[in-house]
């Protein structure tokens, strides 16, 4: 699905060859500052490497229109971003950016319930707790129905129990719908328990 060749970025990343498989769950681990976020952003074409190529489905990602690529390969940033408006507005933010956007209100409600967010969809999103914001942002990505889901520490603000519920659900969803999931995580046990592949990034020097 993704193939990286001879990638170099500043003195942060140096990857000779890396493959991320289709329909699999891959975790990226490594100490803080090792370049996990940077790598994920490169898969979403938010940053470009200084050298080397990244292929998505056999095509170098610069040959895609960036917008088309980012709709297929959606990324959740490390810090939750909340837009002005209600919880529902926030979940449906992708609608503002796309000409065609299908969603199912029941699915959104189910997700909120599954993720233990007991809030009304019409409530303002600005006063939510950090962990609630994180889960709203996660739902936002899931309902966009991308081919690849890139998650940057999606559960860093959650307690262990909720974290397990959320990751468990996403992994199940990925498998059931033949999606590809790549997630950065600090929790080694989560990585071991749920992933098919683990990429470890070592800090240089």
């Amino acid at each position: 699905m993704f193939e990286i060749k001879n990638l170099k970025f500043k003195d942060i990343l140096d990857i000779e060859h890396l493959i991320i498989n289709k329909n699999s769950v891959t975790s990226i681990v490594g100490e803080s500052g090792s370049g996990k976020t940077t790598l994920l952003k490169m898969l979403n074409n938010i940053i470009s490497p200084d050298e080397g190529e990244i292929y998505y489905e056999g095509i170098e990602i610069n040959n895609y229109n960036p917008i088309d690529l980012r709709r297929k390969v959606v990324m959740l940033p490390q810090t939750p971003v909340i837009y002005k408006g209600s919880i529902l507005d926030n979940i449906l933010i992708g609608k503002r950016f796309a000409k065609s956007f299908n969603y199912n209100l029941e699915e959104i409600k189910t997700l909120l319930e599954k993720f233990n967010v007991n809030k009304n969809l019409s409530e303002s999103a600005e006063n939510l707790s950090g962990g609630e914001k994180q889960r709203i942002c996660l739902i936002r990505v899931l309902i966009m129905n991308p081919e690849v889901i890139l998650l940057d520490e999606p559960t860093s603000a959650l307690d262990e129990n909720t974290e397990d519920i959320v990751i468990n659900y996403i992994v199940e969803y990925t498998k059931k719908n033949n999606k590809t999931l790549v997630m950065v995580t600090h929790a080694k046990d989560i990585a071991k328990k749920y992933s098919d592949f683990i990429i470890e990034i070592n800090k240089r020097r």
């Binding site: 979403n44 074409n45 992708g94 950016f97």
Partner: protein, 262 residues
């Protein structure tokens, strides 16, 4: 026109009494602003006297080259002022956008005014062209100055939000929309507010001048209405062009936000 009452030199000098009062207050309070006050008063006086003589000469000998030259000087001054007054460091590309939007916005409005609204003959008649150009250029300058600050600050403060939108497949334009709306609002608001108070709270400078120098208030008002609309048009056109080209300078051709340049 029956001409204004001429002021004698002594009368004009007596108006400087206000400056002397101001200087006394400032000294007494130890505000350390004497130098600035004296310099700015002197500059104002010299610049206006000089402009008076220059305009008298220009008005007497209408010449298209001189009119165009005066407009060019005003444009250069206004553009420099925008760039210098900006609180943030501006990229080279953004400076180019400032120049382009100032020129297109103000020149379009001026040409429309000169040839269609007022229909001056000859078109370069400096008595009309120069004050009109001053109003239009001055107001567009203020508009773009306000817009530029909101634009640059918006990008600085909301870079994470913009990046998040891009990650979800937003176009750079959609990702910047809230910043652009906000910048447009703050750029255009002073002009709109000044229209609301017009005639009641204050008489605008140009009209005051016209009335004092003997025009009928009704004539002054006709011009004032036309000019207010022209100013609004010029400010909106320059600011819209500025914003629609300006936001692009924050992205590269891969639709990535240039974080290093913020």
């Amino acid at each position: 026109m029956n001409g204004a009452v001429r002021l004698s030199i002594l009368q004009v000098i007596s108006a400087y009494l206000f400056i002397i009062i101001l200087l006394l207050i400032v000294r007494k309070r130890g505000l350390n602003r004497e130098k600035e006050i004296i310099i700015s008063t002197t500059r104002m006086t010299l610049q206006l006297i000089l402009t008076g003589y220059i305009l008298t000469y220009i008005f007497k000998t209408p010449n298209p080259i001189i009119t165009v030259l005066v407009i060019s000087i005003m444009e250069v001054f206004a553009i420099q002022n925008i760039i210098k007054r900006s609180k943030n460091r501006l990229s080279k590309e953004l400076k180019k956008v400032v120049i382009f939007s100032m020129l297109t916005g103000t020149l379009f409005t001026l040409i429309y005014f000169i040839f269609i609204v007022i229909n001056i003959k000859p078109w370069y008649n400096p008595q009309y062209f120069i004050p009109l150009a001053g109003m239009v250029i001055g107001n567009s300058m203020t508009g773009i100055s306000l817009g530029i600050n909101k634009l640059v600050e918006g990008f600085k403060n909301q870079v994470d939000m913009i990046e998040c939108s891009l990650m979800l497949g937003a176009s750079p334009k959609d990702a910047s929309k809230s910043i652009l709306d906000n910048a447009f609002d703050s750029a255009i608001l002073p002009t709109i507010n000044s229209m609301v108070g017009m005639g009641i709270v204050f008489l605008p400078g140009m009209m005051t001048g016209q009335i004092l120098s003997g025009s009928s208030p009704l004539v002054a008002i006709e011009y004032q209405i036309a000019i207010m609309l022209g100013i609004l048009g010029s400010v909106s056109i320059s600011v819209i062009i500025f914003l629609l080209l300006g936001y692009k300078t924050f992205f590269n051709n891969r639709m990535q936000i240039k974080r290093e340049e913020l």
